[in-house]
């Protein structure tokens, strides 16, 4: 009897191992543990066993029954798990295929550059002023200490609409309007970005239309040192923390003293390279202390207040910053150019 039980156990375990699906496992369960199952039958037949053997055989058969139940349960779990794993493997995707496109656009590189500059000055409490592209001779020249026939006008070849109106040649025209608006009140802290126009044939480095940004500060005891400090901040923000700047005396009719401002070359760190033509310096700005005549014409007391102004070419800054070699790219709007500006540091 005991042998029979042992054989039954081995046969059941063998079948269970051979069962490949949940159905086959269930079949094993029915065959051995079902109501008419083989093990059930053995237990039912215990009554035919001599009384003294019954407890032992009963214990053995119960142990076998429990073991079998447990093994069936774990076998079912195994089968379920391997089926799930198989299904998941079947759902594999090629992770190297491109993701679904979310449409994206890019701001024009000039807008990006200007935004960057504006954010620096906004953080210093500056306002942003704009003016009309079509300007009067007065705001563009006369109010800037450049009367008609002044030779300094030759520095900027001008598109005239008629004798009174022109396309502004510099954003300094906005400066004039701002000074007039402030009418002698200080502090004046304003930057003036805008499109400007000069009668230049378009080539890789010249454009009849370009973008300038003017900065203007007027108040008490404003000095060249303040101008230098402000522009140092700008240079560092735009071209890196290790940049230094240099003032070279120059001339603008509306500032006195006037300077050209060079920034140490961000490509070679001032050692000299093709970008800075071997000098280690790149000219990016014109600046100076607002001429007393300009302040007086706009209603300020030039004896009491002073101010500085600076102007930079936004294209030039963008070209230097991003290594763009041709100014015409900004206005051709080739998508391959526009979408090249994906990442800005």
């Amino acid at each position: 009897m005991r042998d029979k039980l042992e054989k039954l156990r081995e046969a059941a375990l063998g079948e269970l191992n051979g069962a490949a699906s949940a159905e086959e496992v269930q079949a094993v369960r029915t065959r051995y543990l079902g109501r008419k199952g083989l093990l059930t039958e053995v237990l039912r037949n215990l009554k035919d066993v001599p009384l003294e053997e019954r407890p032992l055989l009963g214990g053995v058969s119960n142990t076998i029954k429990e073991e079998l139940s447990e093994r069936i349960g774990s076998r079912l779990l195994d089968i379920e798990q391997s089926a799930r794993e198989k299904a998941l493997i079947g759902e594999r995707v090629d992770v190297t295929l491109p993701g679904r496109g979310i449409p994206y656009g890019r701001l024009h590189p000039l807008t990006r550059t200007l935004d960057e500059i504006c954010s620096i000055f906004l953080s210093l409490g500056f306002d942003i002023a704009e003016g009309p592209d079509v300007e009067t001779d007065y705001y563009n020249f006369e109010a800037l200490n450049m009367p008609k026939d002044h030779p300094a006008r030759d520095m900027q070849d001008t598109f005239y609409i008629n004798t009174e109106w022109l396309l502004r040649t510099h954003t300094t025209a906005i400066q004039t309007r701002m000074l007039e608006d402030y009418a002698g009140a200080t502090p004046v802290k304003v930057i003036c970005p805008g499109k400007v126009y000069r009668k230049d044939d378009d080539d890789a480095t010249h454009s009849h239309q370009f973008t300038q940004m003017e900065g203007l500060v007027v108040g008490y005891n404003i000095s060249m040192a303040d101008l230098k400090g402000t522009l140092e901040g700008l240079a560092k923000a735009m071209f890196g923390e290790s940049r230094v700047i240099r003032f070279r005396p120059s001339y603008f009719q509306f500032t006195e003293p006037s300077v050209e401002v060079d920034v140490s070359c961000h490509i070679c760190n001032g050692k000299g390279c093709s970008t800075c033509k071997g000098t280690g310096w790149i000219e990016i700005l014109g600046a100076g202390m607002v001429h007393p005549n300009v302040l007086t014409m706009a209603g300020f007391d030039a004896e009491k207040v002073s101010g500085f102004a600076f102007g930079l070419g936004v294209e030039r800054v963008a070209m230097l910053k991003y290594g763009i070699d041709d100014i015409r790219h900004f206005y051709t709007n080739d998508l391959r150019f526009l979408s090249a500006f994906k990442r800005f540091e």
């Binding site: 679904r100 079509v134 239309q209 303040d226 230098k228």
Partner: protein, 791 residues
């Protein structure tokens, strides 16, 4: 301006100063040196004498020479046709570096060659200053050339030319004498300018005068006797160095003195003047024949030189052909005058004649220069052209010789520069600049020399201090001022928000030119009437100020389509500025299709609805609710599709047009049709925007009901929605159209429209309330739109 350092060094000692050093010093003082060009270049050059010269066997042009260089005798193979024994020549010895070549010991057909006998061309001398024979052969030096000496010094070619870019305020440095004073001040070295001796002179018979305010000063002088001939070598070299061709001693002197003093001079052949009289006039007509033999038609504003009632020259620009100096000239009249810079500029531009003289007059001259120039040219004519029978100088007008006085205080200097500069430093700088400073209490009073036209206010003096001290040590500070709130104004904020939205929706920003061709002004959307144009444009392409943004953006679209980019979205925001209007506009473009995933075949053509959807979302985000917008079909616009275009109206103001490009318009531009909109942004700035407001979440359940309607095809979605909204009153949450069907299963004149309605009350809606609302809706749809409910 070209400055010869050799010439400059005749006035100020430049020993120990390299051209590079001088250039750097000038640049940092505001006189930017843009280039340094040596007149001749070569290291290890020596003067040698050709001892022997034999033709090389089996060669048709080479010679074998021996050359004595003083310290040794070199054998040199020479290819020049003109080499001969006995000549003194320039020898580039082994190791010599020339502009094109480095000389090495070499062997030619078995003959050793230790150096090269040079032409001036090989030393980099400007070919324009060389004769044909000088270009073809070696330079043969004079018999006085010292063997073993420096050939460049012997020839006067040991010179470097500085290209100085003068700012308009420092036109005084167009005079080499003024530049010498500047250099002397910068280097703190004395300056010695030539001083003419006093000559015995006769009373003059010359009469000079001016009948126009445009010539306030005219100085004339008669030289009764002189000899025209070639100039000495030093004079030729000096003029050549600064790019002026030597003509003869007399003409060369006028140019030489112009360089020195900055004052343009004119010499007349006295025998060709009808009488000894020169009167300057304007208000003349007729023709002047100038030196270059062109005929100038006079304008009444032009300043003209006349003699005996005849025009003999265009003042300040070019002399007349009739009275010019030539080889037979034996007596001259010198002219040195002041002419109105503005008038010279106008005339010079009108007749398109830019001469050295006209440029100098335009830039403004030292009022004392004319007198100095007459004295100096007299001296050189005596020394170099045997001038005699000198007459006294005659002067019309009075040069303004009152020295300007400008004052400044040290504290003002320190305050404006933002750096401490001592009184002594300031005083020293002003002294070196010949400002004769006088200390009066705190104030420094300066007497400004006549040539410094740029100094008139204290700030000008402060700049002098700044550029002399240099800004290198200036410590940057940030301005100390009251705090201010900076920020974007409403217009800038609107623009920034539109930009951010557009970029977020996948549009690339473009920036296009303001100036356009005339035809583009007729191809716009709501073009601004009578666009402004330029008086003298660079080209027809860029003549008009654009009156609509769309044509410019379409050019960019066409460019990209032509470069194989078919699927994209663009936008531009720009003001359209004219003398009478200034209006900011937005253009939106959708071209081709939106590509979500090409490999999954998920693309969608852009269509009317994609652009409309874009505008709807943007407007809502900007604070303009959809119900404030209306879309009015446009069927007759030449550039828009007649059945897929609308006027976009906000409240009652038209913003612009949106729709598909008319296929003919696209074809005319050589492009594929796109979806496009041009909208005026000004009304957005003037219209009230909705405030963002929180409302508590309505917890009453939402009732969803679908409706399927059969209506005429002419009935628009907007009409259906409006009818439902009016009938449902407050309980309608929203309506969404989820299907529009036209096709064979229904009547050809009809369309089937399926909608989902969501209803919500303040409290839970009862079945009766729902039924009542739905009845009201269907009744209204039937009554107003003849809609029938489908089963």
């Amino acid at each position: 301006m070209n400055v010869s350092t050799k010439w400059l060094s005749t006035y100020v000692d430049l020993s120990g100063i390299t051209p590079q050093h001088l250039a750097d010093r000038l640049t940092l003082a505001g006189l930017e040196v843009e280039g340094i060009q040596p007149i001749a270049q070569g290291t290890n050059l020596v003067i040698g004498e050709v001892l022997t010269c034999e033709p090389m066997p089996h060669s048709d042009h080479l010679s074998v020479t021996t050359v004595d260089t003083g310290s040794q005798v070199l054998s040199i193979v020479c290819g020049a046709p003109n080499v001969a024994a006995g000549q003194r020549v320039i020898v580039a010895q082994n190791g010599s570096v020339l502009p094109q070549v480095t000389i090495k010991k070499t062997s030619i057909k078995g003959y050793e060659s230790n150096g090269m006998i040079c032409s001036l061309l090989e030393l980099g001398v400007d070919p324009k200053s060389l004769s044909e024979s000088q270009k073809e052969g070696i330079e043969v030096l004079g018999s006085d050339a010292p063997i073993g000496g420096d050939p460049l010094a012997y020839l006067g070619l040991d010179d470097a030319i500085l290209d100085v870019k003068l700012t308009p305020n420092r036109s005084d440095c167009n005079a080499l004498w003024s530049l010498a004073l500047e250099v002397g001040a910068l280097l703190n070295r004395p300056v010695h300018l030539p001083k003419a001796p006093v000559y015995t002179e006769k009373e003059s018979t010359l009469v000079v005068g001016s009948a126009t305010a445009k010539c306030p000063v005219f100085i004339g002088k008669s030289i009764g006797q002189l000899t025209v001939g070639p100039s000495p070598l030093w004079l030729k070299r000096a003029l050549n160095a600064v790019g002026i061709k030597s003509i003869n001693n007399v003409v060369d002197i006028s140019n030489y003195v112009m360089i020195e003093t900055g004052q343009p001079l004119h010499f007349y052949d006295a025998s060709k003047l009808a009488k000894p009289e020169i009167i300057v006039k304007d208000q003349l007509t007729g023709i002047v024949k100038t030196l270059d033999e062109s005929e100038i038609h006079l304008h009444h504003d032009d300043i003209v030189i006349t003699c005996d009632g005849h025009s003999i020259g265009l003042a300040g620009i070019m002399g007349g052909d009739d009275s010019k100096i030539d080889e037979s000239t034996t007596a001259i009249v010198i002219e040195a005058a002041q002419f109105s810079p503005a008038q010279i500029r106008h005339t010079s531009r009108r007749v398109n004649l830019m001469t050295e003289a006209s440029l100098r007059f335009q830039k403004g001259l030292d009022p004392m220069a004319a007198a100095k120039a007459v004295e100096r040219s007299t001296q050189l004519l005596v020394e170099l052209a045997n001038a005699s029978e000198l007459e006294k100088t005659v002067v019309y007008g009075q040069p303004d010789a009152t020295p300007k006085t400008v004052s400044v205080t040290a504290s003002h200097v320190q305050r404006l520069l933002g750096t401490p500069v001592s009184n002594d430093t300031i005083l020293d700088i002003f002294t070196r600049l010949h400002f004769s400073p006088v200390v009066q209490g705190d104030t420094l009073v300066c007497r400004i020399p006549s040539y410094r036209l740029d100094i008139s206010v204290a700030q000008d003096l402060i700049e002098e201090v700044g550029r002399f001290v240099g800004y290198g040590d200036l410590m940057g500070t940030l301005p100390v001022m009251p705090m201010t709130l900076g920020g974007y104004d409403a217009r800038q904020t609107l623009r920034n928000r539109i930009r951010a939205l557009a970029v977020g929706f996948g549009l690339h920003e473009v920036i296009t030119y303001t100036l356009v061709h005339a035809t583009k002004t007729t191809q716009g959307v709501n073009p601004i009437p009578h666009p402004d144009s330029l008086i003298s444009p660079l080209s027809d392409e860029r003549q008009y100020i654009r009156n609509s943004l769309l044509p410019s953006v379409l050019e960019s679209v066409a460019y990209n389509q032509a470069h194989k980019q078919s699927d994209f979205q663009l936008f531009e925001i720009s003001a359209l500025t004219h003398t009478k209007t200034n209006e900011e506009r937005l253009v939106l473009i959708q071209a081709g299709k939106q590509v979500l995933s090409r490999w999954q075949h998920e693309t969608r053509d852009y269509d009317f609805y994609s652009l409309k959807g874009l505008v709807e979302v943007m407007m809502e985000e900007l604070g303009f609710a959809p119900q404030r917008l209306s879309w009015i079909p446009v069927s007759d616009h030449p550039f828009f599709h007649p059945t897929q275009s609308v006027k976009v109206v906000l409240d009652r103001t038209e913003l612009g047009i949106l729709g598909k490009q008319h296929p003919l318009a696209a074809k005319a531009l050589g492009m594929d049709p796109v979806l496009m909109a041009e909208l005026n942004l000004e009304p957005l700035l003037k219209s009230k925007t909705a405030k963002i407001k929180y409302s508590a979440i309505n917890k009453a359940p939402v009732v969803v009901r679908d409706l399927a309607l059969l209506v005429e095809r002419t009935v628009s979605a907007a009409q259906i929605e409006k009818t439902i909204a009016e009938a449902a009153k407050a309980v309608l949450l929203d309506v969404e159209i989820f299907d529009v069907y036209t096709g064979e299963r229904i009547d050809a004149s009809k369309q089937s429209v399926a909608l989902t309605l969501r209803l919500q009350g303040e409290q839970t809606l009862t079945d009766a309330e729902i039924a009542q609302t739905m009845n009201a809706i269907t009744e209204a749809l039937e009554r107003k739109l003849s809609a029938t409910l489908r089963g």
